[in-house]
C-alpha cells in the first residue's frame, strides 16, 4: 500500500487588483498541495462563489470595493466555520491587524513576499495564528 497523499487544499482568492491577483495565484500554484478553485474581485462575488463551491481557505484582501475585507471574513466565518481566512494586505497598521483577527482571520500576511504567504497558508492549514515578521 503506497503513501497516503493528503488532499489538496482548496483555495479561493478575493482580490480586486488584477495584477496582484495573478501574482497571488502564481504563488499558490507554485505550491504542490494547494489548488486555486476560484477567483473573486469583491465581497459579493466571493460569497456567491463560496455558496456554489465551498473551499478550505480564502485569501482575502482588506481593501475591497463595496465592503471591507474584515466584514467579509466575519460573514465567511459565520456561514462556513470550517473555512479559514488569510488576510493579504498592504496595511501594516495595528488596527487593521487587530480588526482582522477580531473578525475571525487566522493569519495576516503583508503583501509582497511569497515566503510570507506560504507561511501564512501553512499556519492556517494547522489552524494556528500567523502574522508577517514585520508586524511582530
Amino acid at each position: 500500500m503506497g503513501d497516503v497523499v493528503p488532499p489538496r487544499m482548496r483555495i479561493g482568492i478575493v482580490e480586486d487588483h488584477l495584477r496582484y491577483r495573478e501574482a497571488l495565484q502564481a504563488t499558490i500554484d507554485s505550491i504542490d498541495d494547494l489548488v486555486v478553485v476560484w477567483l473573486a474581485d469583491d465581497s459579493g462575488d466571493a460569497l456567491a462563489r463560496l455558496t456554489e463551491d465551498p473551499v478550505d481557505l480564502v485569501i482575502v484582501d482588506l481593501s475591497l470595493p463595496g465592503g471591507s475585507g474584515a466584514a467579509l471574513i466575519g460573514l465567511i466565518r459565520e456561514r462556513w466555520p470550517s473555512t479559514e481566512c488569510v488576510v493579504v494586505s498592504g496595511h501594516t497598521e495595528n488596527h487593521y491587524v487587530r480588526r482582522s483577527f477580531e473578525s475571525g482571520a487566522i493569519a495576516y500576511v503583508v503583501k509582497g513576499r511569497p515566503s510570507d504567504l506560504r507561511e501564512g497558508i501553512a499556519a492556517a492549514r494547522e489552524h494556528r495564528e500567523y502574522r508577517s515578521p514585520q508586524l511582530q
Binding site: 497571488l24 504563488t27 503583501k111
Partner: protein
C-alpha cells in the same frame, strides 16, 4: 424781554420793522405805560380777597401748566383745556397758534385756532397774528400791541374794529430755535399788564421746553430704532457671512480631502498593488532559480527587492500622508489610535491616549480637522518640546467635543505663540483659523520650562453628518 408797540414809536422803529406790519414801532416793556395798577386809598377787604383769589388762581394756573407741559407725555393735547383756564384767569379772549416754516413768510396758522374772532386769512385777528408772529420770529422775543385803536389803518386797526383791544405773540423757543408762536388777544383791557405778560411767557416757555423734550425724546427713540435696526441688520449680515464662510470652509476641506483621497487611492489601489505584484514575481523568480542562481543573479534580485520595498514604503507613506484610510472609520478613537502609532513608529514619540464618551463622528470633515489638529500639535511636541512623551485626552461633553494635548517639555511663551512669524507660530495660527471656520477653537496654556497644554473645542454641530 418783551416788546411793546405803541403809535408814538412808529418813526423810531420804522426801518427795523418788516413784513405785513411794516413800520410797526416797538418799545421795551420797561418803557411802556404803567400797568393796570389801581390806587388803594383805603383797604378794601373784599377787593383784597378778590386780589388774593386772583393771585392764587394765577399761581395755580402756572403750577398746572408746569405739571401738564413739562411732565406730560403730550403737552399739546392739554393746550385747549389749559388756555380755557388762561382765558378765565387772565381775561384773555383770543388764542391763536402759529407755526414757523422755512419759506419767505415764516408764519402760518397751525394747530387749533380757538377763540379767534375771525377765520384765518381774513382781515382781523388772524392777519394781525401773522404779522405779529413774524416780528416775534425775527426778534425771538414776545411782541405785544397795546391799544389797537391807536394804530393807523392796517391789520391792527381792522382787528380793533372787530373788538380786539390788545394783542401779543410769544415765540416758542427751544434749543436756540424758534418753532412757532402762541398769540393772545383781549377785548376787555386795552393792554396786557406786566404780570400777565410774564405769566403767559412762563407758560409758553413751559410749552416750548415740553415740546423740545418730546422732540428730543422722539429723535432719541428714532435714533434708537435706527441704531437697533442697523445693529440687527449688521448682526444678520455677520451671521450670514459667518455661515457662508463656514460652508465655504467646509466645502474647501471636502474638496481638498476628495482630491487627496483620489490621489491616495491611485497610489494605494494601483501603484502599490503593482509594486506588490512585482515584488511577488521577483520572489517567485528567486524561488524558481533556487540553487541555480549565481551570486550575481542573487545580488540583482536582492537589489530589485530592496528597490521595490523602498518604493512600496514611499507609496504607502505618501498615501497615508495624503489621506489616511483610517479617516474612513467614523470612530475618532480609531483615528487617533492610528495617529499615536504613527507618531511612535515615525517619530519615537510615546503618546498616551485617553478617550471618553461616544466618539462616533459621522462628519468626515470634522474627523479630518481633528486628525490634522492633533497631528500638528503632536508634531510641535516632536519638534519643540524636547521630550518623548505626550498625552491626548478626548471626550464628548454635552454639546462639545473636547481634546487636550499636553506634554511636560520645554514650553514657550503662549502669549506670543500665535503671532510668532516662524513656522510653528504660523502653524498654530493656521490651526486656530481652520478650527474657527468649523465653529471650534484652540487655546494654549504654556510657559517656558513648564510644558504645553493645548485645549481644542468643537461644537456638536460639527460632529453630525453635513454639519
Amino acid at each position: 424781554m418783551s416788546r411793546r408797540i405803541t403809535p408814538t414809536d412808529q418813526v423810531r422803529d420804522a426801518e427795523a420793522s418788516a413784513g405785513e406790519l411794516g413800520g410797526c414801532p416797538t418799545t421795551d416793556t420797561s418803557t411802556s405805560a404803567p400797568g393796570s395798577g389801581t390806587a388803594r386809598d383805603t383797604p378794601d377787604p373784599a377787593a383784597a380777597m378778590e386780589a388774593l383769589a386772583d393771585r392764587t388762581n394765577r399761581l395755580t394756573l402756572v403750577a398746572q401748566a408746569a405739571a401738564h407741559l413739562l411732565r406730560g407725555s403730550e403737552p399739546e393735547t392739554v393746550l385747549e383745556e389749559l388756555f380755557d383756564e388762561m382765558a378765565d384767569t387772565l381775561g384773555l379772549e383770543i388764542y391763536e397758534q402759529f407755526e414757523y416754516g422755512d419759506d419767505a413768510t415764516p408764519c402760518s396758522v397751525g394747530g387749533n385756532v380757538t377763540w379767534a374772532v375771525t377765520e384765518p386769512g381774513e382781515a382781523g385777528g388772524a392777519s394781525v397774528g401773522i404779522g405779529t408772529c413774524g416780528l416775534a420770529f425775527e426778534r425771538v422775543e414776545p411782541v405785544i400791541y397795546d391799544g389797537l385803536d391807536r394804530f393807523p389803518d392796517d391789520a391792527r386797526a381792522a382787528a380793533h374794529r372787530e373788538g380786539l383791544q390788545a394783542y401779543g405773540c410769544f415765540p416758542l423757543v427751544a434749543g436756540g430755535e424758534v418753532f412757532g408762536a402762541l398769540c393772545f388777544g383781549t377785548r376787555g383791557d386795552a393792554r396786557f399788564d406786566e404780570e400777565t405778560v410774564q405769566l403767559i411767557r412762563t407758560i409758553v416757555d413751559y410749552l416750548a421746553v415740553g415740546e423740545q423734550r418730546l422732540r428730543t425724546e422722539s429723535q432719541l427713540r428714532e435714533l434708537n430704532r435706527t441704531l437697533e435696526s442697523r445693529i440687527e441688520e449688521a448682526t444678520r449680515d455677520l451671521r450670514a457671512s459667518e455661515e457662508q464662510l463656514r460652508r465655504l470652509a467646509s466645502d474647501l476641506i471636502r474638496v481638498e480631502q476628495d482630491e487627496r483621497q483620489r490621489i491616495a487611492q491611485l497610489l494605494h489601489d494601483d501603484l502599490q498593488q503593482l509594486l506588490f505584484g512585482a515584488q511577488m514575481r521577483v520572489g517567485l523568480l528567486r524561488d524558481d532559480l533556487g540553487e541555480a542562481a549565481g551570486r550575481h543573479v542573487v545580488s540583482h534580485l536582492d537589489e530589485a527587492e530592496r528597490y521595490l520595498g523602498e518604493s512600496i514604503d514611499i507609496a504607502r507613506h505618501l498615501s497615508g500622508e495624503l489621506a489616511p484610510t483610517v479617516l474612513d472609520d467614523d470612530h475618532l478613537g480609531e483615528t487617533l489610535q492610528w495617529l499615536v502609532e504613527q507618531m511612535r513608529e515615525l517619530h519615537d514619540l510615546d503618546v498616551e491616549l485617553n478617550t471618553s464618551g461616544d466618539l462616533h463622528v459621522p462628519n468626515r470633515e470634522t474627523r479630518v480637522v481633528v486628525h490634522q489638529t492633533v497631528r500638528e500639535l503632536l508634531f510641535n511636541v516632536v519638534k519643540h518640546a524636547g521630550v518623548a512623551q505626550a498625552r491626548i485626552d478626548i471626550a464628548v461633553r454635552g454639546a462639545e467635543l473636547e481634546i487636550h494635548v499636553e506634554d511636560a517639555g520645554n514650553g514657550f511663551d503662549a502669549d506670543q505663540a500665535f503671532s510668532d512669524p516662524n513656522r510653528a507660530g504660523r502653524g498654530l495660527a493656521t490651526l486656530r483659523q481652520r478650527l474657527s471656520l468649523v465653529g471650534g477653537g484652540l487655546d494654549l496654556e504654556a510657559a517656558p520650562g513648564d510644558g504645553t497644554r493645548a485645549h481644542v473645542v468643537l461644537p456638536a454641530a460639527a460632529l453630525v453628518r453635513d454639519g
